[in-house]
Structure formats: C-alpha cells, structure tokens
Symmetry: none
Subunit: 312 residues, 2 copies
DNA sequence: TATCATTGGACCAACCTTTGACAAATCGCG
DNA sequence: CGCGATTTGTCAAAGGTTGGTCCAATGATA
C-alpha cells in the first residue's frame, strides 16, 4: 500500500521480519541466503540485529524474480549480485590511491583464489591510466610477491598463479595502449640469460602510453636476433632488460655483442642487474635506466628518440 | 510480460528440470540426447550439475520442431547442430578454410612486420570459434614456424616476434572463452623442465570452450607447487604438458612426483614427449592425450571429469 | 515478561548425477 | 510378410548436492 511507497523514499531501515513480510521470503530463508550466497549482506545494529536497506530489498526482490524465471537460487543470487554490484567505486585519498588495490590483489594471491585474483586485477586495470596501474599496482605487487616468496610467506604455487594472471593483464593492457598509425617504434628485448618477462612488460606499457609503438621480442633474445630485428625494423629506440647479473667477463661480452647488434640506434638498459653492466653499457653509448621514476625516464627517452632519425 | 524481458536480460542458466518444463522434453530424454548426439552439451557447475544456456534451449526447441516435422531424432540433431554452430559460416570448400589465414600470418612473420602480424592475428581471432582458431590457425602456425626455424627459413628474431604476438592473442582468447559461474575447474601446468607455453595455452582454450574453468600455473611448475595448488583448489581435472622428453630415469621420477602431488584427481598428460612418459603415466592412473583431435579429447575429458567426486 | 534477534548446526525432501538396462518403435532385407 | 538389428524413450539403482526449514541456547527490545 502507500506506506511501502513512502518507506521506499527514505533510506529504509527494516528489520528482518518486516523484510520477510515485504518480500514474501521467510526470515529463515533470508538468513540462509545471506549465509550461503551473500545476498544481501545487510548492515547491523550494535547488538548485531540485521538492518536491511532499500537496496538490500531490491536485491532480494530481484532474486525472487529470477527464481520465478526458472533459475536455481544459487544462480539467481550470482546473477543478481553481478547486476547490482558494478556501481562505481570511489577513488580514494591522494596519498597512495593504489594501496588498497594492491592489498586486495595480494590477499587474493595469498588466499590462492584465481577467480578473485582475476576479478581484482580487472578492477585494477580499469582503475586508472594503464601506465600508472602497471607501475603502481602490478609492478609493486610483483615486487611484494617476490619478497614474500623469499621469506616463505608466498609459495611457488602462489607465485606461479600470480605470474600467469598478471602476465595476462599486462599483455592486455599493452595492446590497449599501443598507439595506432605510424608512431616511432621501440624494440624491447630481454638479455640472453634473462628469465623475467615482467620488467619488459611494464616498460612496454610505459613506452606505449607515451606514444611509442612497442615491438616485443621477449626474454632471452640473443644478440644476433636483435641485430636482425634492428636491421629490419629500424626502431627509434632499443630497450634491453637484465635482471640477473652475469659474471663480469660474460657481462662485457654480452653488452659488446648487443651494442654491435644495435649499431647506432639509441638504446637503454634497465633491470636489477644494471649496476653490474653500467660501465660497459655507457662505454658503448647506451643509457642506463635505473630510476624507476617514469617521469625522469620519459624525458630521457624522449631526448634519445629524437636524437636520431631512422633513415630509409 | 516481465518474465520474458527478464529472461532475455541475463544469459539463461537453467537446471535440467526447468529446461524440461520449458521445452516439453523430459529430463531423461535431454540427458539421452546429450549422451547420444551431443545436442546440446550444457555447461556444468563444479558439482557436475548441467546448466543450460538460452542457446542450448533454442537448440533443443529446434530439434523438437524438426522431430515434429517427421525427422528421426538422430537426423534432427545433426541438422540442428549444423544450423546452429557455423553461424558466421564461410561458404568455402570443405578442405581447409583456415589455410589462407595461416598463410598470411606466416607471410607477416617472414616479412618481419609486427604491425601486419598483429592485424592478421586479430583477424584470425575473430574468424571463428576460439578453440578452432587456436587449433587450426595458431597451433599450426607455431608448428610451421618451428619447422621453418629448423630449416633456417625463419630466424630466431622472427620466431621471438611470432611467439610474443601469438602468446598475447592466445591469452586474450582464453579470457574470452573462460566460463563464468562455478564451473568445474581444471588446473594446467607445464612439467618442471618445460619451456614451451603454447601447448598449454592451446589446451587451455579448448578446455575453457568446453565449459571448464581453466586455472593456469604455467610452465616449469614443480611437483610441490602443483601439490599445493591441487590441495587448495580441488580441481576436477589436472592437465600437464611435456614437450621435451627427460631421460628415462628422470622421467619416471618426475611422473611419480606429479602423480603423488595430484593424488586421486583425474589427470591427463599431453605434449610431444608423451610417448616417453606413457608407461609411467598410465602406471600411475594418468591418461595420455596424444590425439590432437579435439573431439576425441573432449569426450575423454568429459568422462574423466565426472568420474570422481571433487571432494576433499 | 513476552516477543523478537542472533548463531551454528542439523535435517530432509527434492533434485541432480551416472551407469546400465529394457521394451517399443522403426528399419533393412530376404 | 516376417525376422533380426538398430534406434530411441524411459526407468531404476546408488549416491552426491541443494536449499528451505527448524532447533537450542542466548541476547536484545519493548
């Protein structure tokens, strides 16, 4: 009657028996739905009484409707949740807006919950500019996973799971920011002994978001392969990544080989092992990228790219 | 009136009894049709309940219609399948509709043209059902690239380029076909020494397109990690891939370790090295998947998934 | 005090699963 | 026409899953 219409105008606060009456769903069933499917999860008073809002009631009504449409209660709950939840979430305080996002991703990893992990990663990917997300969320999550792995808090299985999921998201993000048309091209490759693909992928997202067309050769690219790629593609820049430092003599050898392969295209080297390589790299005209600050890196890259024109 | 509007809003997820009511076909008959003609093959929940989609129901209705038109059920099923499946049907010859697609991808690789390669791969990804594309285009392109690499016709650089691009497309396709809801789960992992990720990815697309939720642990998953993952996730099936055959004693060791890790969950092993492993695998209750015919594989997988309860 | 809430577990009917079987209907063919 | 062979709808048994409901002990509200 009219009382319900009026009640729906203000923010409703109904107790369970009232809700049962309004929706036709017995109170015991409401509790069971909450326990089993989380639909809905009403607020509580200080003494733990349930307090249903109008949104909660709408959700219940939707579930009832779906059930009448032939869905099993569990499915109906899932569908109704999916319909109602995707309301925009609030971006938070200025300090570190991505901290909660990282935290929930890490929680999903520790809980070994692939479904939740993918959901959180999707949420993260849509939560800001791809380069920022790659840098401030994914990269830092990966660092944290690495640390926790060292201390035994994260297992090999969890690390594999996280790697697969984050690798997929990173690749998707790269294709999303990859510029159209004939942008300047940057060629990315991992050192010959390199196993870690993530530094390369994160770098790729940055470069692409700065308007460079990224061509990935991936990890373990030998110098000869890089030489051919440089010759064929005439990139404006070459990016190398080296995470595990080779022994000194091998390092010099490798850097020389890569420098020869690259010729006179500007090149940068990043990754954890750069300090070992620094001398050799700058000796051959390469630039070390140690600063993980994207801003500094960007101007550096801009300068380098415009220094030379790809001929032909 | 609202009920039809609702039904068209969500993608239907009906249990068998509801479907029987909606179509007038008894549940037992629906199961028989599925068993005998594969029409339809609904998705499954993690507890192996059938979950029919609206498309499934349309298929059933079509079969009923044809039966009423005088066709024998087996014939009706065949016709209805043919009508429904190849929706974006290419009017091409029976031979190999994907040959030109493969050819243009291979040309892009040989021309070392990343842009064109990505364009061709996008075109391929949209040219048919993901599982078919993964199988008949991407897998075969990768095989061909491997062969051409052996004969020197494709260089390491080209191979790297192709791997990166195809890997990205495969991952994207997987996320596109990954089922929602609580489907039965399959855990995929590469052998400890495994380097090749593509067999796993192609298998993943197949399994996902059959309604299984794929969780990728990726290549080089050690037995201990797999053990933890199995314990945590309780998958309905575990898939392993081994492309490079280890030495016999190591092979036996490895297979034993994996079998122990998997426990009593059904498991399959695929990849080029299966012949070496076959004895050990079947000795430990695993199944070898040698036949790259997805049809045979599918029924095999279906049987294995439902053979044992996913409990504890 | 009488009424309503809370939790967690437990119950049980209804539903689902597979396997195997079986009889009626239909078909091919001598 | 009649006789095997195949097709096809239906069912039963044995066992797992789902989901509405109830209970007991306890606390809050009026």
């Amino acid at each position: 009657m009219t009382s319900t219409a009026i009640a729906s105008l203000h923010r409703g606060k109904y107790r369970i028996h009232t809700v049962a009456e309004m929706t036709g769903v017995p109170a015991a069933t409401l509790r069971a739905w909450e326990r089993r499917y989380g639909v809905p999860v009403p607020a509580r008073t200080s003494s733990a009484y349930r307090v249903y809002s109008d949104a909660d009631i709408a959700l219940i009504r939707r579930v009832v409707e779906l059930c009448e449409g032939g869905l099993a209660p569990s499915e109906a709950a899932r569908v109704a949740l999916e319909e109602h939840v995707p309301q925009a979430h609030t971006p938070v305080e200025p300090g570190d807006p991505y901290a909660p996002l990282r935290e929930s991703i890490l929680q999903a990893i520790e809980a070994f919950d692939p479904r939740r992990l993918e959901r959180e990663l999707d949420r993260a990917a849509a939560s800001g500019p791809p380069a920022t997300v790659a840098e401030d969320v994914l990269r830092r999550v990966l660092l944290e996973v690495g640390e926790r792995w060292h201390t035994g808090r994260v297992t090999v299985a969890q690390e594999h799971l996280a790697s697969e999921a984050i690798g997929t998201v990173l690749r998707r993000m790269l294709t999303q920011v990859q510029p159209e048309g004939d942008a300047r091209m940057v060629l990315l490759a991992g050192f010959a002994d390199e196993e870690h693909e993530f530094p390369l992928q994160v770098l790729a997202v940055h470069l692409a978001s700065w308007g460079l067309r990224v061509v990935q050769l991936g990890v373990r690219t030998p110098p000869a392969a890089l030489r051919q790629a440089v010759a064929e593609l005439q990139p404006a820049l070459v990016g190398l990544s080296c995470t595990i430092a080779p022994a000194a003599h091998r390092a010099r050898e490798l850097v020389d080989a890569y420098a020869d392969a690259i010729g006179d295209v500007p090149w940068i080297v990043g990754g954890a092992a750069t300090s070992t390589l620094a001398r050799f790299v700058s000796g051959r005209g390469g630039q070390i990228v140690e600063d993980p600050q994207p801003r500094a890196l960007r101007s550096q890259v801009e300068r380098m790219c415009s220094r030379r024109k790809p001929r032909r």
